[in-house]
């Protein structure tokens, strides 16, 4: 059996598994007919979309099956940081002293999913929004800029997120 054919079958099965989990969460019932219908339609959708969901060159095992328990801890840390960031935002709305700048820097993460999650968590935390993500180059708009030096800015903005994401996805 050809290697590429095997990899294609694995991609189709993984995509339909993800879709099946989504179906069970949405319907919330474990009746036999519902499970059968969900399985059939998730297999049909997976046949059409597997090449977009998992790319052909994406071969790292960790990017498909990450550490689940670390993701749960990460979501709670993220929620705490979102509340902190919103209180800072309320203070800067009240006072009105802002100093916005554009900062460019690079990230060291390899996996695409990890990069997207890093960009989303940067968008959610204190006064920063990701404007553009091109391979490993990020353009970030910063509301209360303390420095424009790329190295210090990246260590201030990324904080602990990159370390956590490297543990989860490499």
């Amino acid at each position: 059996m050809n290697v590429f054919l095997k990899w294609k079958i694995v991609r189709i099965i993984l995509t339909s598994l993800y879709l099946m989990v989504g179906w069970i969460l949405f319907t919330g019932s474990l009746a036999l007919f519902s499970l059968f219908l969900g399985g059939m339609f998730s297999f049909l959708v997976a046949l059409l979309t597997y090449s977009i969901f998992i790319e052909e060159k994406e071969a790292a095992r960790r990017s498909l099956l990450p550490h689940i328990y670390l993701i749960v801890i990460y979501i709670f840390v993220l929620l705490f940081k979102i509340y902190l960031a919103s209180f800072k935002m309320v203070f800067s709305v009240m006072k009105g002293n802002i100093n916005p700048r554009i900062v460019h820097f690079r990230t060291r993460l390899k996996s695409d999913v990890a990069r997207v999650i890093l960009a989303n968590s940067i968008s959610l935390t204190p006064g920063t929004i990701t404007l553009d993500l091109d391979e490993d180059h990020l353009i970030v708009h910063w509301l209360n800029a303390k420095t424009t030096h790329s190295h210090f800015a990246s260590s201030l903005i990324k904080g602990h997120f990159e370390m956590w994401l490297r543990k989860i996805w490499i």
Partner: protein, 101 residues
């Protein structure tokens, strides 16, 4: 129990009002995007947490948790879409003018 629910509801309304004030008060697109996206996400999360505490353990709680996770994913993506559209159109960000000492 009711006190915790009312506290979270009040937190949600507080963040919603300040997000709107920031949206009306800030000078350009990027800063308005900052205020609106962050405060709307936090106010939605506060209201959803309050609803989950009010409901207890029912199937509705799982459904509300699903909606909350959906907003956690799509909130930053939407702000990224709007910001990227403005950035590629060439909107120049607002800068504070230097005060001469």
């Amino acid at each position: 129990m009711m006190w915790i629910v009312q506290f979270f509801m009040g937190l949600g309304i507080f963040f919603g009002i300040f997000g709107n004030i920031g949206l009306l008060r800030f000078p350009d697109i990027y800063t308005r995007l900052q205020a609106s996206s962050k405060c709307s996400t936090t106010s939605l999360f506060s209201i959803f947490i309050a609803c989950m505490l009010l409901e207890g353990f029912t199937p509705m709680t799982g459904r509300i948790l699903l909606i909350a996770l959906f907003f956690l994913v799509t909130g930053p993506v939407t702000s990224h879409i709007i910001g990227r559209h403005a950035w590629e159109r060439g909107v120049i960000p607002w800068k504070r003018k230097k005060v001469k000492d």
